[in-house]
């Protein structure tokens, strides 16, 4: 499967990846509306850690044997057996935080969407759960500090 990798030597903490992610995951897919009008509904699923001196964009690694999926009590978190993409079904998720307690990277966060706390994570910008799209964070990175490339293994168990 293709995975997103962060190359921290090129990361300049500009957070454009966060903006592009949030905009794609908004209703309007427009930056101004996503940030100023849609309230706290749209969430980014990539987070830049650190400061200008050292920073790193972090999102889901779509693990071979994901601990978040193994721990999910609702069945909302799944790894697609064909594509290897790990996604969370927002309707089935109850926000119990088991996934966030098991993800070794902090790449799943629990945030409030439409009055419900649910797990938020990278879905590779697919239009449907488990489908890969064109990750907007990668497209938005001005420095090629995020690359989207064919990885070597680990798509499925």
């Amino acid at each position: 499967m293709k995975r997103i990798y962060a190359l921290e030597r090129w990361c300049i903490d500009c957070k454009r990846c966060e903006v592009a992610c949030r905009v794609f995951h908004s209703k309007s897919r427009d930056a101004v509306r996503a940030y100023r009008i849609e309230g706290d509904g749209p969430k980014n699923r990539i987070w830049v850690e650190g400061t200008c001196a050292a920073s790193l964009a972090l999102n889901c690694r779509h693990c071979a044997d994901p601990a978040c999926v193994q721990g999910c009590i609702s069945g909302a978190m799944q790894k697609n057996p064909e594509t290897g993409i790990v996604t969370v079904d927002p309707h089935r998720c109850v926000g119990c935080r088991t996934c966030a307690t098991l993800c070794p990277f902090g790449a799943v966060r629990i945030e409030e969407v439409a009055g419900r706390e649910i797990a938020i994570k990278c879905d590779l910008c697919g239009e449907r759960l488990g489908e890969a799209g064109e990750p907007r964070c990668v497209a938005a990175c001005p420095n090629r500090a995020l690359i989207y490339v064919e990885s070597e293994g680990g798509s499925h168990e």
């Binding site: 109850v94 935080r97 088991t98």
Partner: protein, 453 residues
């Protein structure tokens, strides 16, 4: 139902059993798989029952696997009281179901989980408004009584009241769920503090205060002496201190035990749970076990005990299934440690590993309470072996990974524990690269370039 012969019999249709069946199929395309379960439902997220009552999920969304799951993995599934296995003959490789039919199996998995035990309290048994809180049917019973309590109380112009006996995870989640219906929930706990298994004294005290804001009154150090009522319904309880509390209904959640009678009666070796080898085979040939009923080695303390947690059941189910199907390169099950995630209203409580270290064994702790949050880390030999994160959930999984990997703490900044959550940038450059770049294409360097440096 007629007698049948299957390659794999999975007894138990929940996390461990279903995951095992999935892995059996993934590693044996041909073998016939039969799953039997006592509850008359497709597999559902058992821990969701409190969320159902609280209106945070629906019956439809509780299905743990999507529709058509059993067909998709080519497994037959028989559920309901008739499909309960009542006896096992490991010599003959047969299991007898409640309807008298006999299943002959090649290999069998016991994934029958835990069962709640009812405390021996005078007047508790035989009441229609006394419930355990473990299954979907239990939840429906509690839910019905919670709604009825609301109606009755409104009609009579008095507060609606529930009593919960036991303040473990199950008791407190039940209390949270019914708090939306009744005015007062009284939680009784025999121990000196609530949630004794996953909290320390300070954490328990804070959580008790947080629950109090939602009408849940926890009374540690007390239990029920006697349940009183008229006929089938309990109407009040007398506490061990002599006090009497009126109630509309009662949830009894004093604990669970491994549901291993079937195996034990068939001669399987039992400690605090079923004793299994690294392939999760019990002492009976071709009888495997996975989930709550298995005695697990706690990798942090060496203790042997069942680990009745959903992720553990899934992990063991997967492992047992692979072993049963003779998968290649299958890893042994060599123990686990407890990781608990639970939320009460808007407060999250995440815990892992050793919470209350024994004195004099070289453990060190770091604690800090600030407002409504309480954080504790437990360390030994320079390694993290447990935490409490009450009201500070960020990056909990990164700490879990430190415990799992036995990482040396000296390389991490001190402030990344009590002062702020640990981040990926707190790992050394090389460790960070290794953690975050699994399956990285070998043709690229760390600049993302193809040409050699």
């Amino acid at each position: 139902m007629s007698d049948r012969i299957v390659d794999y019999l999975v007894i138990g249709n929940s996390a461990a059993g279903v995951t095992a069946a999935e892995q059996i199929r993934a590693n044996d395309a041909q073998g016939s798989v039969l799953i039997v379960g006592r509850e008359p439902y497709a597999v559902y997220g058992r821990p969701l029952i409190s969320y159902l009552i609280a209106g945070r999920t629906t019956r439809e969304q509780m299905g743990w696997k999507g529709p058509g799951f059993y067909d998709r993995i080519g497994a037959e599934c028989l559920v309901g009281p008739d499909a309960e296995v009542v006896s096992l003959d490991p010599e003959a490789h047969t299991a007898t179901l409640a309807d008298g039919s006999v299943v002959t199996y090649g290999k069998c998995l016991l994934a029958t989980g835990s069962i709640p035990f009812t405390p021996p309290i005078k007047g508790l048994e035989g009441r229609e408004n006394v419930h355990t809180f473990f299954t979907l049917d239990d939840a429906e019973g509690v839910w019905g009584d919670a709604r009825r309590a609301r109606q009755d109380a409104d009609a009579e112009g008095r507060p609606a009241r529930a009593v919960v006996i036991g303040s473990g995870m199950i008791g407190l989640k039940a209390a949270e769920a019914v708090a939306g219906y009744v005015d007062e929930v009284c939680v009784l706990e025999l121990a000196e503090r609530i949630l004794p298994a996953v909290l320390d004294a300070q954490g328990s005290e804070l959580l008790q205060r947080l629950l109090g804001r939602h009408g849940i009154v926890c009374r540690p150090g007390l239990s029920v002496q006697e349940v009183c009522g008229d006929g089938g319904r309990a109407t009040s309880v007398v506490l061990t201190n002599g006090e009497r509390i009126a109630c509309d209904f009662i949830v009894a959640a004093v604990g669970v035990r491994p549901n291993s009678t079937l195996a034990v009666e068939a001669g399987a070796q039992q400690g605090r749970g079923l004793v299994c080898g690294p392939d999760l085979q019990t002492s009976l040939p071709d009888v495997y076990a996975a989930g709550d009923l298995v005695q697990v080695t706690d990798v942090l303390t060496g203790d042997e005990r069942p680990l009745a947690l959903w992720p553990n059941a899934v992990q063991q189910g997967a492992c047992a299934g692979r072993h049963m199907a003779g998968a290649l390169d299958v890893e042994p099950f060599d123990g686990a440690f407890a990781v608990n995630a639970v939320d009460f209203f808007e407060d999250s409580l995440l815990t892992a590993g050793v919470i209350n270290p024994p004195e004099g064994e070289g453990y060190e702790t770091l604690e800090r309470q600030e407002g409504d949050s309480y954080v504790k880390f437990v360390m030994k030999d320079g390694r993290l072996c447990g935490y409490i994160l009450l009201g500070r959930p960020d990056n909990a999984g990164v700490y879990t990974a430190l415990i799992k990997n036995g990482a040396e703490l000296s390389t991490f900044p001190e402030e990344a524990f009590l002062d702020r959550p640990l981040e990926n940038l707190d790992f050394s450059h090389d460790d960070r690269w290794e953690r975050l770049h699994a399956f990285y294409p070998s043709c690229l360097d760390d600049r993302g370039w193809k040409e050699a440096r």
